[in-house]
Symmetry: C2
Subunit: 585 residues, 2 copies
């Protein structure tokens, strides 16, 4: 292995005299840096002057650092007391960073430089004069750079360059004109919280190794259940790696509730189980059914009205049909905010049917759950309080960084019974604290990433009212877009009426198609419009919005607004851009 | 909502004159800061002096920033050109940060202050004079602070305090004396990479929104397959949220390979399937079987020798037994590095049996996979190249921040066929780039966190040889511990012989027990020793190591070493600490 050895630091005092104490400028820098940032200034100054770090508890200066314990590292090299170091990363490697002896200084400099790269990216992300994406085709990107992994280490200069290169080609998902997914935006407090989560680098399975995070998960899930409307916020829940897994958990728990023997005996021991969800629901319901050994054929897709809402009478009809065949309906998954139309299934009517036939009612509110934070819009989820389980992804409408998805369950203890395996190496029963905080056995995962802190810290920073303001604004922007295009030449709405969520679905019809009759040829040509405009958007890098076909409707744009940076002007820009890029088609 | 309004910035020049241009000290700070860190110095200085940021591509000074596009925000307030700002966070809220108008300055200051908190934590994490944990019982922590979520926002001063409080009670998982889990340590390059991942805030499902990360996943998985020994690194794979999910994926794919109709028809359409794994294997195999509708009764636990290795003859016997009953063996999951003993199942013998009976061979190398990076130790996984699938968690032995778990599959295309649902809103078939890079449909997850970048960047920084050096060192430390305690008074080894992995399993026998006969009473008293010592370790906060019972063996310590910060002195310390805390028991 390459070992840079000594001499890779270049130290000199500002006046060239080599005497740090005489360097007025360096002293001045420390004073200013301390005032300005408080932290790194202090830390670096202490290092530069060879002073020990002051412990938090004590106000005294230069406390003794040496204790009766063994020193931090065995070597005798002390940080030199020169005032300033020019770090030459070309001579530094990962092995020079902490926990290396004398690794503090290069580590702080390196991490600070990484942070500078990130801060520049953050600022650029919000700058409308930058591109949303600097698009390259996969083969171009593969050829342009050497991404391969090798035996030998690279130096830290190269590592910093990789960070810059990676961000150069990244999608700026916080950019005010990025509308491509349900998760958009970059929240500054959420970002800070995610950095902290990475730094804490722990696992959610036990209180033992994640005490604060486990408590915050407890507090946050309870609050979410209160908002759903379960009495006193009672019930259960967990943060899982995404809405698809949350939905699969709901299916798993619903099955276990009805047939607990399935855990040991498998599906062979139970009758044929049938799940119901709307034809506009998310594909994860079918994925879950395939994985759980239920099979996709046992997921019945209920018809929707023209706005994409499940038709309750069709649900009841299909339940009766299935029962007549001797199969067992075990789950209805209603959707609150469908992926494409943003439709809200009629939860009250679905709840009545589920009650009547004693079927587990799940609400997939991955996308629509955020509206529960808004006094103006939460009526769209009326009936969610009657659900047995709810998927709610704060990483979508609430703008929490990826990933943050919660499954909430009304009955307490069911998740634990369903999934627990009592691993004695993790969940020792003779621990010295309250074991109910060891939540790991509720999940299929063993190790579980800390996803809660981002949401908790954002909630503290914004308050419920802050989320409400964000959501109301996004809904208002969607209505603004709808009002502009509903009667505008060259636009056709995919469904009539004001959007219930921020999804606005429309075709842009280029001038050449406007004269055509509504026939197959026009449909065929129209289906090619959105993909071409989208490809051009990406090549210009000006904006990004999604498109897809759905049922008998050919490719249309699905505009969604969850980005807190978006303004009316950005909506105007989007329309102009679609027309600029599509008028010749 | 509270709105701080204007006037929350307090600007003054260093000499009190109010004239920034005359402030020599501030100028000096900028000069020094630029030299020292390169980045934030430049950025803040540019802001403070009202200069536009210099674009990366251009070397010219003060390029025109205004373009024909719309300006970044509609308001006309310009950053003031004062030299230095004392930020009073008590008057600032999340709404003052980007994307707010004029949000750049408070955002940079806020994120920098968060970073300072994190850097202090990083430095402390490696300092042996700090506690590994400042332990409090759950009810204490809940009472000591108000963690509740409220309607109204908190100011940024409070948010920064929450960050400090959260870290105050966090476990320092990077601390040189933290040995509690298989995942320990805090790698500086990995941490930097995770910060970048958070900042990029995107999703792995399509190339469209994660171009670089998708390519890096491709490159990295291929490299891992090469190391496993599959010709040319061919095959398939994915990063999943933890080893338990990776193991479940293996089970899912193995079942699909044998009975593809299970996807549509469910378990009702197939015969009873049986999986085999050792009695020392990870509990996730049973969790997976329960979830997939196979049932835990259909997971047969094969006997292990006294070192914790699966006994091949028992495997073959149980396979024959099952076949005789008319059931279908579909999966053998061998373990390379068991959780407690660190045992490696005899993969070559298992491979022969799997071949003979045409059973999918999975290797759960979540913990042991790292040894493949070491020329000295990889022989312990001989035969892994014959597996059909391998779980390998770089977040364990290789020290990548949590989470980073890979499932590698020898047959290409199987994951896609098994899990795909062709969601047309994500995986549009008329996109303008090579769709093979849209990997999202291989997974059960829809949104998928970017877990690869940490590993890729660490690999570039360390090289394969760097991982090898780390792994060899950890194994050497484990041997050092073993050699010290194997003949030391007061210690009994749980199994004989040199550990194959870094797991060293032992009882500490306090003096009062050493005189007792080896009977039930002694066992009963011995079983209480490790929990008490562990509780005391946590209360003193000096070190952390795990314990558990296993089979007929009462609570014993399981020491594992994956922490790059650990040294021989830390091993010595651990022994002294166990004796100090346990001698009175």
């Amino acid at each position: 292995m390459a070992s840079p050895g000594s001499g890779f630091w270049s130290f000199r005092s500002e006046d060239g005299s080599g005497d740090p104490e005489n360097s007025g400028t360096a002293r001045a820098w420390c004073q200013v840096a301390q005032k300005f940032t408080g932290g790194i200034g202090n830390k670096l100054c202490a290092l530069l002057y060879g002073e020990a770090e002051k412990p938090e508890e004590s106000g005294g200066s230069q406390p003794p650092r040496a204790t009766s314990r063994k020193a931090a590292c065995a070597c005798n090299q002390k940080p030199c007391s020169c005032p300033k170091a020019d770090v030459n990363y070309a001579f530094l490697h990962a092995t020079d960073l902490l926990p290396a002896c004398d690794g503090e200084r290069p580590t702080l400099a390196f991490l600070q430089d990484v942070m500078d790269i990130l801060l520049q990216y953050v600022v650029k992300s919000f700058d409308r004069s930058t591109k949303v994406i600097d698009f390259h085709y996969p083969n171009e990107l593969l050829q342009e750079y050497n991404w391969e992994l090798a035996d030998q280490p690279q130096n830290l200069e190269e590592i910093l360059m990789h960070c810059q290169t990676t961000l150069k080609y990244a999608i700026k998902t916080g950019h005010p004109r990025y509308f491509n997914q349900l998760s958009t935006g970059l929240d500054m407090v959420g970002l800070a919280a995610d950095w902290l989560t990475s730094t804490a680098n722990t696992n959610m399975f036990t209180y033992e190794i994640a005490p604060v995070f486990v408590l915050l998960e407890y507090v946050t899930l309870k609050k979410m259940r209160e908002i759903i409307g379960w009495p006193g916020g009672s019930g259960d829940g967990i943060f899982s790696p995404g809405g698809a897994i949350s939905n699969m958990y709901a299916m798993l728990i619903a099955r276990f509730k009805m047939f607990p023997e399935v855990k040991e005996k498998g599906m062979a021991a139970v009758p044929r189980l049938i799940a119901f969800t709307s034809e506009h629901s998310h594909f994860s319901l079918k994925k879950g059914a395939a994985a759980l050994g239920i099979g996709t054929d046992s997921v019945i897709l209920i018809k929707c009205d023209e706005r994409g809402k499940m038709i309750p009478s069709d649900l009841e009809r299909r339940i009766l049909e299935v029962k007549q065949k001797g199969f067992v309906p075990f789950l209805v998954s209603a959707t609150a905010g469908t992926t494409v139309y943003g439709a809200f299934d009629p939860l009250l009517a679905v709840a009545d049917i589920c009650k009547k036939y004693k079927i587990w009612m799940h609400v997939d509110a991955a996308w629509g759950g955020g509206l529960l934070m808004s006094r103006k819009h939460k009526w769209k989820l009326s009936g969610v309080e009657r659900a047995n389980s709810v998927t709610w992804n704060p990483h979508k409408m609430m703008g929490v960084p990826l990933q943050c998805s919660a499954l909430l369950v009304r009955e307490e203890g069911l998740m634990q019974s369903c999934n627990q395996m009592h691993a004695s190496y993790l969940f020792q029963q003779d621990k010295h604290y309250d074991l109910s905080y060891d939540t790991g056995d509720k999940a299929l995962q063993c190790g579980r990433h800390v996803d809660v802190f981002k949401l908790w810290l954002m909630w503290r920073a914004k308050g419920t009212t802050g989320f409400e303001a964000h959501i109301d604004k996004c809904l208002e922007l969607a209505e603004y877009l709808y009002n502009i295009i509903k009667n505008r030449e060259g636009y056709e709405m995919v469904f009539d009426g004001k959007p219930q969520h921020t999804n606005v679905c429309f075709w842009y019809v280029p001038p050449s198609l406007r004269v055509l009759d509504d026939n197959e040829e026009r449909m065929s040509r129209l289906s090619k419009v959105a993909p071409v405009i989208k490809a051009r958007m990406m090549e210009y890098g000006t904006t990004m919005v999604s498109y897809q076909p759905l049922g008998d409707k050919v490719n249309f744009f699905r505009m969604v607004i969850s980005n807190p940076a978006a303004t009316h002007q950005d909506i105007d820009f989007l329309i102009e851009e679609i027309e600029r890029l599509g008028q010749d088609l």
